[in-house]
Amino acid sequence: MIYEGKQKIWSDYQKEIPDDHYFYVRSCIRQTFFPASEWAFLDITRNKLNKNIFETEHHTTCGGIAYHSDAIPQETVMTIIARQFALMHKYGYENYVCSCITSFGLYCETLESWREFPDLQNKIAENLKKATGLDFAKPKFLVHASDLMYKYKNLIAAQAKFKLVDKNTGKPLRVVEHIGCHYSKMFPSKGVGGAEYPYVLAGMIEAWGGEVVDYPERRHCCGFGFRQYFVQSNRGYSLANTHKKFESMEPYKPDMIITNCPGCPYFMDRWQYVIAETQGKTYGQNGHGIPVFTYEEVAGLVLGYNPWDLGLQTHQVGPEPVLDKMGIHYDPAKKYLGKNGKNIGKPDFVECIK
């Protein structure tokens, strides 16, 4: 592709991301498996960057996982979403930032459906009033939390204590970026860089000193598949998709993976463990897997947060090779301690993968 053509495509997929004043909603999967990532996001934006990011205890799931597992009808999920938006309005916000990619895609779909079918929007507004008494409202700006981190990438770089650079060689770490499917595959114009050249994570990697790894199955799904994971007999689907991605990226020898979807890091971390346990195969060096991180974890590491405050001890694939390369100091003896150094045991030793 000629450079000018690529620049034109890129300019079509720029997205306006307000700098401040957001209503924040959590992710069911992110807060379950990576609660410290959501904590880090709020700590970084509020306390390091002095942004106004508001959260209320009254918001709930958007219902997206149940909807995409076909357990609830479209009208149900749309009314739950209307309730989330109404809470934003009630608390005086018009910018909406969500932690979940499934939610983000569904919000995009819902807003588009409401725009296209005003009768449907009216029906949902009536449902909302009847069920909750709340007034219908829509966000002026809808962004995913990774959009905001992308927006702030240079501010974070300016405060960086560590870089995505191998301190021993001086070379950039080789980073695979994995974008959640529902971020921009359905509505490319709603994501930074679109579906073909999503730049939301690549921008962070470059700003923080790393090198983005391209590989054939870069855009392939992690394999969550909703019902394909939640029902035990379907899980081969999920595993097979992750396996396909790792086989594809292996020859490019990535140091680490960074993701923006709540589920993807769980699947890409845990299925590496299963592949190691069942096939005896690991994708990193010397029996290690390839460590998988959320973008909040990576931002936290760059800013000098304690890896165990970021929850890296809850990964099945150990993050230590990346911490060592970045020159981050950590105390292995404190990895599995509870609050205030409380002894809360540690996971059983896993022989098949480090």
């Binding site: 379950t32 209320t56 009254h58 149900t76 799904c221 939640f230 029902v231 809850t314 609050k339």
Partner: protein
């Protein structure tokens, strides 16, 4: 034009997701499910746009419509701006409404996702909730999750979460008033009707098989006849 086709056309996802399909098969080429299962989204969209009710009914009773992972990779690639993934979602909804989902092994699994996910939403306000995500049925979650489950309160406290606590924070306890509003939304939008319909069909089948609810749940949670895969 048949009655099933007419009902499908009322679904907003069909209105948005189905223009004239040219049968190019790009969706099938990109589809993660088509690689794993005997699955061809091109054929599904073609059957729907044929308007042939007999063929649509076969589809609604088949395993086929349940193979999709709803990743929506097909949407990006379709040269006609179709969304086969949305068409599949409309088919699944109609299959449940008609009771046809009970005719296939994969369709019957709806009881599992309905019970687990809707149970979490109505009881806790979340689709996924740590205390109901068990290592025993998710051993791929690793020894680290086993440890987290055994020391859940301590681990979540260490990770700055607010497990079952008051006020904002990760995995907080959602106030009862808010859960009541979610339940009311379910009641007036068809959510409760769908949960009840899937449950009633499962209980009827369990009774026919002479199984308890728990035995039936475990059967459909683990059962796999081996004919689904795209070897």
């Amino acid at each position: 034009m048949g009655k099933l086709y007419e009902r499908l056309m009322k679904d907003y996802r069909i209105k948005e997701g189905l223009n004239a399909c040219i049968n190019c098969g790009t969706c099938t080429a990109i589809c993660p499910a088509a690689e794993f299962y005997k699955y061809d989204p091109r054929q599904i969209v073609d059957t729907v746009q044929s308007q042939d009710d007999a063929e649509i009914e076969k589809l609604l009773k088949s395993d086929t419509i349940w193979y999709c992972g709803e990743c929506m990779s097909c949407v990006t690639r379709c040269p006609r701006k179709n969304a086969p993934g949305l068409v599949v979602m409309a088919l699944r909804s109609l299959s449940i409404d008609m009771g046809y989902f009970m005719e296939s092994e994969k369709g019957r699994q709806q009881y599992v996702v309905s019970k687990d996910l809707c149970g979490n939403i109505l009881n806790y306000g979340y689709c996924v909730y740590p205390r109901t995500f068990k290592y025993a049925t998710h051993q791929e979650a690793g020894k680290v999750w086993k440890w987290e489950e055994e020391h859940m309160d301590d681990v979540y406290e260490r990770l700055n979460a607010n497990l079952d606590g008051e006020g904002p924070g990760a995995v907080r306890k959602i106030p009862q008033k808010d859960l009541d509003e979610i339940k009311k939304i379910f009641d007036i939008t068809g959510g409760t009707d769908r949960v009840n319909a899937v449950k009633a069909a499962a209980e009827k089948r369990a009774k026919e098989l002479g199984l308890t609810e728990e035995e039936y749940f475990n059967k459909i949670y683990t059962e796999c006849n081996g004919a689904h895969l795209n070897h």
